[in-house]
Symmetry: C2
Subunit: 161 residues, 2 copies
DNA sequence: GCCACAAATGAGACCGAGTATCAAGTCCGA
DNA sequence: TCGGACTTGATACTCGGTCTCATTTGTGGC
């Protein structure tokens, strides 16, 4: 069968590493796989736990280092959850965008910057600030969770509990 | 004999406490004063240090508790700095708004939500998510810092970057 | 003013996320 | 094959924040 989207993404991450001159060591591959296997956001602790369950006694520091590396390559991005804790999401390193996160299942989607850029410009002009960066985070319920919540409607979705 | 803007704001905070049924103890007043005296954002550690310098041996927990309380009354709001650390800003508890923070001097301004609400609605409609909350944070350089940075040239430039 | 009770406090233990250090292991080019 | 650079795991540490608990303070009823 055709390579799944997920292993595709793993490969994309590995390539990004190599392109930037880093070694694609087994550990980093593992992290890439785990990251790619996540539909939504995840915490570092999450990843570490999954990593250890997978097979290896991978070090805490190694996971943090790998995540930091991926973040610096813009392959993953750090997110601030409303709870105040941090999470990561995989994302497209090429376009500036924002994240829409399901507060129920944790799934995350990229949202193109588009109109926001204009709005931010506008705010800058009005306030006199020269705006260097902005961050928009959106939290809500994704369609499948909404469907599941309304009870019987829940088709064969299998959204995790 | 009009009270200064700052003690005015202190009073506003104290009133908010009382209105919500909390005691306005000396410690909480102190925190209110310190918070009101800040032009921009501040960290909890910041506040603790200033509090201790002021006069008291105020406990760490007390400061955190007071901040948490004020945050629950929406008198202050928690901010996620690009560095990943947390800060607080005083703000208007009545209107939904966002923060524009000077990454140089730390000064912070409220930005009305306005157009963003429409944009967020739009994103929700397009993505199928039902969006429950959103957060926009803007970082840049405020006019005075920009002026200071460009040295003597200061005046002429203004907004037209 | 006194009393009883609830709220608030300070000290300090604790916790979890993240970083720093360091010695050992691995990779890769000469 | 060798040597240096990169990577790794263990572990100690820092830092923001929370929890616990005994003590203190404030408040309302008498």
């Amino acid at each position: 069968m055709r390579p799944s989207i997920k292993s595709d993404q793993t490969e994309r991450i590995v390539q990004a590493l190599k392109r930037a001159g880093y070694q694609a060591t087994p550990n980093r591959r593992l992290v890439a796989e785990l990251v790619a296997a996540t539909g939504g956001h995840f915490t570092a602790a999450d990843l570490l736990e999954r990593g250890r369950r997978e097979r290896v006694n991978i070090g805490r520091a190694t996971v943090f280092r790998a995540l930091e590396l991926l973040a610096s390559l813009r392959v993953v991005e750090r997110l601030d959850l409303p709870s105040g804790s941090h999470a990561y999401v995989v994302c497209d390193p090429d376009a500036h965008h924002h994240h829409l996160v399901c507060s129920n299942c944790g799934k995350s989607e990229d949202v193109a910057d588009g109109e926001l850029a204009r709005l931010v410009d506008d705010i800058g002009r009005r306030s006199g600030y020269s705006i260097e960066s902005h961050r928009l985070e959106l939290f809500g319920t994704c369609p499948s969770c909404a469907a599941a919540a309304t009870g019987t409607v829940a088709t064969a979705r299998g959204v995790q509990a």
